[in-house]
């Protein structure tokens, strides 16, 4: 095997090994580690020194660090999960106490479980997504988008249950647009900005096109609610746009 060809072969193997690192670590150092590995191989080959045991040592040493980084990440994930679970429990106290004090608030036990799950899932989504980028605007954008999405999903769930009008299920398409957009954008700020603007546009379109059939006083409140949610989605989009521009500088 020619030295350069062998170097490329080993580099490919090493690149495969590096994929075992946690994603953020791999994104940050993967390319540099590959280069450094390649430099070490080349230095060794130019000096005509044995390569096999040296590479075995490098692979073992890297594998040990991969284990360490993954264990650190799992431990961080455990702490985050515990924190979010406790915060969700704290938030659950609000409807729990309110149901004892407000007349006519008769939630079943299952409703509290669903609400707790929603709080927990939203909190975990924030914790997982917001850590992808250090920029304040990105974190704020994630927070505003999740809060608006939660408010939309929650209010629509209550509204559908009260009105029994299946047409209101159309509002969930805003969340579907958000989910697909976030997946396509791979959580990159530029793509997320477009997704949030698309969500704001979809909600505007539904609010204008869908006849509410509600009495005038209720229709006014609904219009205010819609405007507020559209403004929140648009604000989140602007925050992601800011994060995207800041990342380019």
């Amino acid at each position: 095997m020619a030295p350069d060809h062998a170097g490329r072969h080993y580099r490919t193997l090493y690149s495969t090994l590096l994929r075992l690192y946690p994603r953020p670590f791999h994104d940050r150092f993967g390319e540099s580690m590959e280069q450094t590995f390649h430099d070490l191989c080349r230095e060794r080959e130019c000096a005509r020194r044995e390569l096999f045991w040296f590479l075995t040592w490098i692979f073992c040493e890297t594998l040990a660090d991969i284990l360490r980084e993954n264990m650190t990440r799992m431990s961080e994930l455990g702490k985050t999960t515990l924190r979010v679970a406790l915060v969700a429990l704290g938030l659950l106290m609000v409807p729990l106490v309110a149901s004892r004090m407000v007349a006519g608030w008769n939630w079943r036990a299952g409703s509290f479980v669903i609400v707790y799950f929603l709080f927990f899932a939203t909190g975990m989504a924030y914790a997982m997504i917001a850590r992808k980028m250090g920029a304040w605007s990105y974190k704020a954008g994630v927070g505003v988008a999740l809060a608006a999405g939660f408010a939309l999903g929650w209010s629509n769930m209550v509204h559908v249950a009260d009105s029994e009008n299946p047409a209101n299920l159309l509002y969930y398409s805003v969340l579907v647009v958000g989910g697909i957009g976030a997946w396509l954008a791979r959580m990159e700020p530029r793509g997320l900005a477009r997704t949030l603007f698309a969500m704001a546009a979809t909600l505007t379109l539904i609010a204008v096109m869908l006849p509410s059939g509600a009495p005038p006083y209720l229709a006014r409140n609904m219009a205010i609610g819609h405007s507020l949610l559209v403004a929140l989605f648009a604000t989140s989009g602007l925050l992601f746009r800011h994060a995207s521009l800041a990342g380019l500088k």
Partner: protein, 115 residues
């Protein structure tokens, strides 16, 4: 991030050597490795796992940071990320060297007294 990497407690050998290597100027990963090897006269050999694992924790602690991505004129046409010491990194290195001086002073006094 543990206290070991923040300068509040003795630094790990890997962190100390990386700080020492970067105290001479910006370096890329391979450059840091070579500098560590030269500084320790070949006694310390650091693999990529130890190097980048330590650098990740040092960056979180604000001891070092990425500088820019450019070609090393002495190597090839691949662009490499360079790393540089921060003010906190320099302060941690100075504090560690001061601690070493204290240890050496005590050790020399004891050895002189013992002989």
């Amino acid at each position: 991030m543990t206290k070991k990497e923040t300068g509040e407690a003795p630094l790990t050998p890997a962190v100390l050597h990386i700080l020492l290597a970067l105290s001479m100027g910006e370096r890329h990963g391979y450059g840091i490795m070579k500098q560590v090897e030269a500084d320790s006269e070949g006694k310390v050999k650091m693999g990529p796992g130890t190097l980048y694992g330590s650098m990740g924790r040092m960056m979180e602690a604000g001891l070092i940071r990425e500088s820019d991505k450019r070609v090393d004129p002495q190597m090839d046409d691949e662009r490499r990320i360079y790393y540089k010491l921060t003010g906190a990194g320099r302060a941690a290195l100075e504090a560690e060297l001061e601690r070493y001086r204290g240890v050496v002073l005590v050790a020399e006094g004891r050895l002189a007294y013992g002989s």
